[in-house]
Symmetry: C2
Subunit: 208 residues, 2 copies
């Protein structure tokens, strides 16, 4: 055989599939052969859904969440509290928070966190648009919901400095402490230390 | 949000991707968001390569390997020994043997092995076409290259019974024994026992 895979069609599909994260050439080949074994309609549906996704998806003008129209369903909803903006790193975080069913405000997707190691500075993130938005729209609270990492903390602090001088704006961050279901013994010291310092009133836990 | 993913395009792509083997909804979402982050051309190329693959690939009329024309490159090659047919379970096995660079004959892809547990009988495999082919084309040797499992052995034996009465036909199977690089101590007893019974002349190992 001239080429490794007997067919340039297979070769192509394997090459394209193996560009996906976590998918090497062996897995890509397995996927391609699986697609070949199934109905033609199934393979075509997969291919078309990917093309559709990439060609037709847009980003919300206000919060930069993915959307099919100019405004995402959250920003477009009259039932959400538009005076409370939750700042998240990416689209997946929006989904995670939405899935809790505990949040009725709107979002602002930064598109990453400040990370000098990866060459990501504040200019590459949607921080300026956040500041403009908060100033223009009469936002009352900004919730910083970034990862509890060095990069997340840096970004939190940067945003805090940019927003801190806006009058009557409450800036909050996600509670940090023991995960629900965790045992004291297995909670790391830093987290446990914070949980003690930032202990909350016991009655709050069943009143809310 | 009405739906889990803010966008039906994303929802579609995730559903189609998660039909692939070993890809759950979380991984599918990660892949879809990765596709969204990359260039549009890359996503479109992936989608099109999958559609192309599924729509345009064919199977070789003779050996049932995947092909882009009526005959696969192996069956169509004048440089291969068409009197030696290597019987394999699937397309991936053809690639594995081709990659060794040690085989100059042709193949016959069964499409599986006999497995009553999975409801796969001889009728669902390309065994009849193998028998016809061997009878019609003056094949001199059939190499049984199926997995060294119960199912593989059953299939080997079934094929042997179908072909055993053809005069002047040599039926062989892959050598079974210690893997190259293995230590005696860690080789399982069955394999080691076979390796002793089917020991080969030492001089053969460097003459060939």
């Amino acid at each position: 055989m001239d080429q490794e895979y007997a067919s340039s069609l297979l070769e192509n599909a394997v090459r394209e599939l193996s560009r996906l994260p976590g998918i090497g050439r062996k897995t890509a080949l397995r996927l391609a052969l699986h697609i070949l074994r199934r109905d033609e309609s199934e393979g075509v549906a997969l291919g078309e859904s990917i093309i559709d996704l990439r060609k037709n998806i847009r980003y919300c003008r206000v919060c930069h969440n993915i959307s099919e129209s100019e405004l995402c369903p959250v920003c477009g909803s009259a039932g959400r509290d538009h005076s409370c903006v939750c700042v998240v790193e990416n689209v997946r975080d929006v989904m995670s928070i939405e899935n809790t069913g505990q949040y009725a405000g709107v979002y602002h997707v930064l598109g990453g966190v400040i990370s000098p190691m990866d060459g990501i500075g504040p200019d590459q993130l949607e921080i300026d648009s956040l500041v403009e938005r908060v100033k223009a729209e009469g936002v009352k609270e900004v919730i910083l919901a970034l990862a509890a990492t060095m990069e997340g903390d840096t970004t939190n602090f940067y945003i805090y400095r940019k927003l801190g001088n806006i009058p009557n704006l409450k800036i909050t961050q996600l509670a940090r402490g023991m995960a629900v279901g965790n045992e004291i013994e297995y909670t790391d010291e830093l987290t446990l230390g914070r949980s003690i310092l930032q202990r909350t009133l016991f009655c709050d836990s069943f009143n809310s």
